[in-house]
Amino acid sequence: MTSDTPAHQFQEDSAVSTADFEHRQWMQDALHGYENTRGGTEAMFGDFEQARQTAAAIKWEAIENLDTLLGEFADKLEARGTRVFWAGNGKEAVDYILGVCKEHGAKNIIKSKCMTTEEIHLNPALEAAGMQVVESDLGEYIVQLREEPPFHFVFPAMHLKRDRISQIFEEKLGTEPSSDPEELTMIARRVMRQKYCEADIGISGANFAVADSGMISITENEGNARLTTSLPKVHIAVLGIEKVVPKLEDLSVMLQMLGTAGTGQWLTAYNSMIGGPRQPGEVDGPEEFHVVLLDNHRTKLLADPEQRDALRCIRCGACLNVCPIFKNIGGHNYGTTYQGPIGSVITPHLRGLQSYKHLSFSSSLCGACSETCPVKIDLHHHLMRNRRNAVQEKGGKMERWMFGQFAKVMTHPKRYRGSEGLMRFGAKLWLPFKGRKLDPLKAWTASRDLPAPAPKSFMKQWQAQEREQEEGKS
């Protein structure tokens, strides 16, 4: 097999990682810990299920009125001195941000966690233009030093044990080895303090865009986003157009749902709303505030009348944490910005159905994702819809012919009975090759068993038994 396509790459990498039992256990323990914490926090709610309904209704209203709400959001921001840029695709967004950086002669950029900038590959572009870019979120910083993408879009370094983290710090920062998470965190704190003070520009994402107030809302635990958006003279926020909520008051529900579903905390340490650059009468804050609103195929997903609810997603990561596929293969194998069930649902819309349909097929359809989603996205049915669409658009001829034959056999008792004999004969020819190099069913037998057909069918066995009983009676 070659890794010329995302599907082949996915298969190859997943075969390797599913054979690593130690790593699988590590992930499952971590995610199980998350599930326990979240369960306890849900119990603090008056009625978590009802709160979920409200959260879904808020985001649905936002999606259904996206045009007016986006307009309102941008108008309110601009009225207080924010520059809003509408980017149709990743390149337009990157070019605009590069332009702002160059205009200010920026050398040092500090970033707080933002998956949208991963999506548009902002860091390599800034680095190619000669700027130093530092990720300030601890998990993001660790994977940045390791030159790898985030493993999980909420817990970027969850795949790494402390010794690996100590090792990369030792290598890249020249620090002493340590097996104490607190000591390791303090190393990053010291490095980052320096970076905040040097940074010319801070780049952040946003969790919500509040239309009626013209504010972005950022949820975090570390305080890195607050420092990134407070200290540098220029702040650029990059967000997808689907981040909208209609009203400021809606955050009273959304922020608690995000904290609970995402991390199991009833609220993260800092939930901050930013509505402009420093205003008259304020003592600090950036002189310039830019908001980059990114489409990048989101309108394509919006145009799908069956799947547009996927735009309700608040990127809490809950569906990854409960997904049996994610738990076993981990995040890197997806080869996408957004991993797990939500990534498998939306990536075909963002990057092409045929190239990423394999993700929708790599699912047990257990529905755990839909059940845990705080905004009630119909995730596992969307995986089925992606499968259907992929086949309708470009079905395999061989596959269609085989299913045609299968249907013919299965719907006619005589043909079915005839096929039994054929199966037994075929199995006899095949058995000597089973599991060997020349096995035509190798793709199946490499990791699964295929037992030979029973010598007598169930129907024949039943009939024989009935006959015996009849004879016994008489």
Binding site: F45, R193, S230, L231, Q279, E282, K376
Partner: protein
Amino acid sequence: MSGREEILGRVREALSVPSHAGVKAVSGEGVRDVRKARGFLPDGGATPEARLKKFRKLAAKLKAEVEVLPDLAAAGAFLADLAKTEGWRQIASHRNDLTNSVLTSLKVPILWTDDEPGTADLEQVEAGVTSCEALIAQTGSVFVTGKGCGGRALSVLPPHHVVIATLDQLLPDMLAAFDLLRERYGDNPPSFVSFITGASRTGDIERILVLGAHGPKRLTILIVGN
């Protein structure tokens, strides 16, 4: 700008196709109403006593320190003690009636953010003392704004954040805090508002909780009043 019209045009075109039945997945009267949803969220407590109890409980879970003190003088004395035990050489704060009266007797040099000190100077102080807009019982949060509470950096850059609040500032829930924001600032809210819930923390290394990831390692909340 043309980008705006182009994208909004695409949004409108996409929305011109009606959604299939079942996509919405939520229905029912009042399901969208955030005031009704109050009852579905964690409870903030019906009486001031219940709120204080709830606030203390959540703050303790978050390892934030809460002190309820009878008057401003007692808050001043508490701070003086804290300054001694922590060995404060310099702190930062902002000027308003509450901070002025509590800090007046403190014998530690104070950097006032009203005078717009540089980041490098603010980074050197041992503690940031701020007032707040409100306390939130439902979540154990401190609600601050850039305009009312000494700016954006004061409550996040120093390693110890001390909040001075009064008992009547304790609100039941986040929704009440947003109502207060509208009441106090109308259509022109501060450019920065934040709910601070516990000290800065991270679990990025093996999900083990570490306090003081980038922001304050300690959060102390002084509540004045009976």
